[in-house]
């Protein structure tokens, strides 16, 4: 019996090649374009119609069925509303992570299962392994360290992960592009898709202004409390940001050419605090508090109970075995470089950011504390800290 896979196709090269590989591996493949957002934004034409046409063209070329699944309402409710709520609370949420959790690996997964799918697949750079001697599945970093997208996937539901194939998780981006070219997939050179999730930092402010009214307030230097300029609402700013600050004329005179960074947001009084002191305590920290912590691997569940500091068990002892035909490469043996000697975990504070060793202490209520040996640049509240042991993504949490 041929197994059925619904593959999310965005029109980009990664998901196109994913569909191609699944077809070659003999699955019964259905391409699906998830229509999550279609509205144009200031300075950004929403490319959904072109993306849809690109995805369909590839599906036709591959000779697979193709459908459009409309998730616009759910996306608006689960991702956009969440985003706006977080911004209003002064946080800087990551819509990508929420989109994966609620749309791609929930609604898309559920609908595929209703349609008697054996698996879903996406063009993410990530891998899935079955945990030996358990029914659990492990999320592992992609072979291409540059493209690894597990940072965006750490919150996806176990049930969906157990039925997910990441066809390009074993490939590097150049390999993916080369294959696309060889197969005459026209979008091999296409710019990477940037959905609404990904309006970027500057675009995000324009996006928010569509929904949130501006509220003028002061920009103050944190050390002196001097008013240096005015802003359009504290929620439009992110800790660490240095662009888009409306500093008045005196700025040049007092900042001796060095840029000011946002170091603190006073939501209550609508004040943005800035500093040019890169060593400011608000920028650097050795400790981060997490909330809404997700722990992925089942074998690690006990960790969430203790409240005591504990090292995470190594998945090495029970090495994962590739379960699907396309998971050719076993987990790398030489991953010591990314593993701490004392059993600590590694943390990633941004997509593609370096892995930093840390100790994690869990508390009862789904919160956790991360402690670092060296100071790290403090990420904005609402962003995610994702934890790893070797190549395995153990989960993560939302930075407070």
């Amino acid at each position: 019996m041929v197994e059925k896979v619904f593959v999310g196709m965005s029109g980009g090269v990664d998901s196109s090649v994913s569909a191609l590989l699944l077809k070659e591996q003999g699955y019964d493949v259905v391409g699906v374009y998830m229509k999550n957002w279609s509205k144009d934004l200031p300075g950004m034409k929403c490319p959904w119609a072109e993306d849809l046409a690109d995805a369909k063209r590839v599906a036709v070329k591959l000779g697979i069925d193709f459908e459009v699944w409309d998730f616009e309402e759910a996306y608006r409710e689960k991702v956009v509303e969440y985003m706006l709520k977080e911004f209003r609370a002064g946080n800087t949420p990551n819509p990508d992570i929420m989109c994966n959790q609620e749309i791609k690996f929930k609604l898309f997964y559920e609908k595929a299962m209703e349609r008697r799918a054996d698996y879903i697949a996406t063009g993410h750079y990530a891998r899935v392994f079955r945990q030996e001697g358990s029914t659990g599945y492990l999320l592992a970093r992609a072979v291409d360290e540059n493209k690894d997208q597990t940072y965006f996937l750490y919150r996806i539901y176990d049930e969906a992960l157990a039925h997910t194939i990441f066809p390009i998780g074993e490939m590097t981006k150049p390999e993916v592009k080369k294959l696309a070219e060889e197969e005459g997939l026209h979008n091999a050179y296409k710019k990477e898709s940037m959905g609404v999730c990904f309006v970027g930092e500057v675009g995000m402010k324009d996006f928010l202004k569509e929904y949130i009214e501006i509220l003028p307030g002061e920009i103050r230097e944190i050390e002196s409390e001097r008013v240096l300029g005015y802003h359009e609402g504290v929620i439009f700013y992110t800790i660490g940001q240095r662009h888009g600050l409306y500093l008045t004329g005196i700025a040049g005179e007092i900042n001796d050419g060095l840029p000011y960074y946002v170091v603190k947001k006073d939501i209550e009084n609508n004040i943005v605090y800035v500093s040019k002191n890169l060593n400011n305590e608000h920028i650097w920290t050795k400790r981060l508090e997490l909330k809404d912590v997700v722990l992925r691997a089942q074998g690690l569940a006990s960790l969430s109970r203790s409240g005591a500091r504990r090292s995470l068990p190594s998945p090495r002892g029970s090495r994962a075995t590739p379960q699907f035909a396309n998971f050719r490469t076993p987990l790398r043996q030489d991953s010591n470089a990314t593993r701490a000697n004392n059993g600590d975990i590694f943390v990633r504070l941004r997509h593609r950011a370096p892995l930093i060793p840390a100790k994690m202490t869990l508390s009862e209520d789904g919160a956790a504390t991360l402690e670092f040996e060296k100071e790290v640049k403090r990420p904005a509240a609402g962003q995610s800290a994702v934890i790893y042991d070797g190549e395995i993504c153990l989960g993560g949490g939302i930075i407070q």
Binding site: K35, L52, K56, V60, K61, G63, V68
Partner: protein, 382 residues
């Protein structure tokens, strides 16, 4: 390449291109400037407008040049902005109109007139929906997805009787008839008096002229509001320096189209018959009352959009519906209006013939489409 989408765009004809060329560089002057070379350009521009007007039996002064048909359609609806109008002025439009009419009609709370299953206006529905408040009726001369030709003279006769009746009863509300003739301009012999229209939209891009150039014919008693204000060009309705090369190109193209009208129609009609004979397993959607170059087919059980991509691989270019709607992934409101099921709409293909085609291409196209349809059927049904 076999291009079968002339309803979406046409290449600029050699004559039109050649006529336009000097006005981009040598004769670049602003028609409003005072010196002689500029006045010559102004005269050439007026002459071009005269030729465009002549093609529809009108005069240069009846023509407002616009940046395409969409703008002309929008301008036509400003008749409702007229200060003299009663507060309750209303508008009727055909439900199968192009989006550029539907969207602007919606802005004015327009009400749609139904079409019959053959695509023609339901005249009873028109009569039923016209009230004393109705100020504008808009119906395209030929539909952009089906090529259906509307009985404009019949519509205008109905409106004329209503106008007479209104006058008898002392009602001052005017009643205008607007028609979008974008698709019909090079395929029908058009005369505004014979059609009985008060406003007519023209489009250069569909008649082998330049894109972004259109015109609105406006009868003398129609009062419109400017869509842009400034230097007062185009009778004050569209300020901005005139697109001289555009108007010159449009005039050359429309002149050429008129000269070859009958010959072209005969050729297209013959090619259409060839296609209908040589293609297999289709249902013809636009059977009657249609432009000679429109062939709308339905392949049941097939997703016609897939055919577009399969044909694209064979360098045959076709459409499923209006290019603008298709690119938004919307299902055709036109095909739905004539009562096609969702499955029929999904299986519908629009072929529009034109000057880039020849007889050999038509045979070839029929063969390639047959092959592609067979292959897709094989894929679906195994």
């Amino acid at each position: 390449m076999i291009y079968l989408d002339h309803a979406a765009a046409t290449p600029v004809s050699d004559k039109a291109l050649k006529a336009m060329e000097p006005y981009f560089s040598r004769d670049f002057f602003n028609p409003s400037a005072a010196y002689l070379p500029a006045k010559r350009v102004a005269a050439d521009y007026e002459r071009a407008k005269g030729e465009i007007a002549h093609a529809i039996g009108a005069k240069a002064t009846d023509i407002v040049m616009t940046g395409g048909a969409t703008e002309a359609n929008n301008l036509a609806f400003t008749a409702l902005d007229n200060q003299m109008r009663s507060l309750t002025a209303s508008v009727l439009y055909l439900e199968t109109e192009h989006d550029s009419v539907r969207a602007v009609a919606e802005k004015y709370n327009g009400m749609a007139i139904r079409v019959l299953p053959n695509g023609l206006i339901d005249l009873d529905d028109l009569k039923a929906k016209i009230t004393d408040e109705t100020m504008l009726v808009s119906a395209s001369l030929a539909n952009n997805e089906l090529g259906t030709i509307q009985p404009m003279a019949e519509i205008s006769a109905i409106l004329k009787n209503i106008k007479i009746d209104r006058l008898k009863r002392g009602i001052k509300q005017p009643l205008y008839l607007h028609s979008d003739a974008s698709q019909a301009l090079n395929l029908l012999d058009i005369n505004v008096s014979r059609l009985g229209v008060d406003m007519l939209t023209l489009n250069a891009a569909k008649v082998y002229g330049p894109k972004g150039v259109g015109a609105l014919y406006v009868a003398h008693d129609v009062k419109l509001s400017p869509i842009s204000v400034g230097g007062g060009q185009e009778l004050g309705l569209r300020s901005g320096t005139e697109n001289v090369p555009g108007a010159i190109g449009f005039a050359a193209a429309i002149k050429e189209a008129k000269e070859h009208l009958n010959g072209n129609r005969k050729r297209y009609a013959k090619w259409k018959q060839t296609l209908l004979k040589e293609l297999r397993d289709y249902e013809l959607i636009n059977k009657k009352h249609t432009l000679d170059n429109f062939v709308v087919l339905c392949y049941s059980g097939i997703d016609a959009e897939r055919l577009i991509y399969l044909l694209e691989d064979r360098e045959v270019y076709v459409a499923t519906g209006a290019a603008c709607a298709a690119s938004k992934g919307q299902k055709s409101h036109v095909l739905a209006a004539i009562g096609l099921s969702d499955a029929q709409i999904a299986g519908s293909l629009r072929l529009t013939l034109g000057e880039t085609n020849d007889e050999e291409q038509i045979h070839m196209a029929a063969q390639i489409i047959n092959e592609v349809v067979d292959a897709e059927k094989e894929r679906v049904h195994g």
